[in-house]
């Protein structure tokens, strides 16, 4: 089973969600800005690499986690990807796309734009990381929902809130 967290650039919101999912961030307490900045791929994917899927490790149930940026055409692109997989006979239960963008705050969006598009890296990176901190609860709940879905698909036992930090 593979989980793809997608957002606009695939380097801020989706990276934070994937880090939570794979246990690099602790869902019980908000990370420091420097922990967020130090995450692999955080604010590191250049704009011209939008559309590339990067592996981000493994989740607690053995699922592979990826981050991907869909840019401005996310619905069209997601549909193209899923219909292609369908044509290739891939079972829809074997992958999951999770849109992390609705959980982004203005600070992540503005910070991301400053850093990635305008090249103001130090300022933009800090602002985006601060934004992740502010959006932390929303990201934690997104990841918990996702993990619950993964567990359900695996035919796992519990449908209740998954144990944290696992």
């Amino acid at each position: 089973m593979k989980v793809f967290y997608n957002c606009y650039g695939g380097t801020h919101t989706s990276v934070a969600a994937a880090a939570l999912h794979t246990g690099r961030l602790d869902p019980r307490r908000p990370p420091r800005v420097r922990d967020i900045v130090g995450l692999p791929l955080f604010d590191r994917v250049p704009t011209e690499d939008i559309g590339l899927a990067f592996p981000y490790g493994r989740g607690p149930d053995g699922e592979d986690v990826f981050v991907i940026g869909f840019g401005p055409g996310k619905t069209v692109i997601k549909r193209a990807v899923t219909s292609f997989l369908e044509l290739k006979g891939v079972c829809a239960e074997d992958y999951l796309f999770v849109d992390a963008l609705p959980r982004a705050t203005w600070a992540i969006k503005v910070g991301g734009t400053l850093s990635r598009r305008l090249g103001l890296v130090p300022l933009g990176r800090l602002l985006a990381a601060w934004g992740v901190q502010r959006a932390y609860d929303r990201l934690v709940s997104l990841v918990e929902e996702t993990r619950a879905k993964v567990r359900r698909r695996r035919g796992g036992a519990s449908l209740t809130v998954p144990s944290r930090g696992g």
């Binding site: 592996p55 592979d64 401005p72 055409g73 549909r79 193209a80 290739k88 074997d94």
Partner: protein, 158 residues
Amino acid sequence: MLVIYHCHGGAHASVVCAAVHLGLLPVDRIPTADELWAVRWFDREDPADHGRIRCMGVDSRGRKVCVLGRRNVFRVLRRAVELVAREMGVWSPGEVLFVDTLPCANWYMRVGGFLSRAAGLRRLGRPLLAHGTRKAYPELVALVRRTLARMEGRPEGG
């Protein structure tokens, strides 16, 4: 093997190319407007469905012929499809061919397509579309010929 003809909306240029490829439209003459309207999916794609890769049929060599409306995000879309398919273990290089049909579309087709699909003004859009498609038809057929030649490893235009 998968051939994916794509254009902005996946309803006109790409559908005509796929139909020519599948032998549903003639290659030696320009089809009548009625023949065009008889093609399944010609001017049928709903903008809310953009992005879906639809298989129109299988050609004589067993290749799946598909159409795709990719709006203006082809570069990222193409990459995302390849990368995700690779991760899912279903991508083999050279097995999928994306063919951009938009350069063949003229302004009659673009304006007509917009009026018919996006604005919902079929009565106004459809005559323009039929005219434009018939005008662009030789180019569309040439593109399909080049595509077939490319797949069979023959020199272009062969």
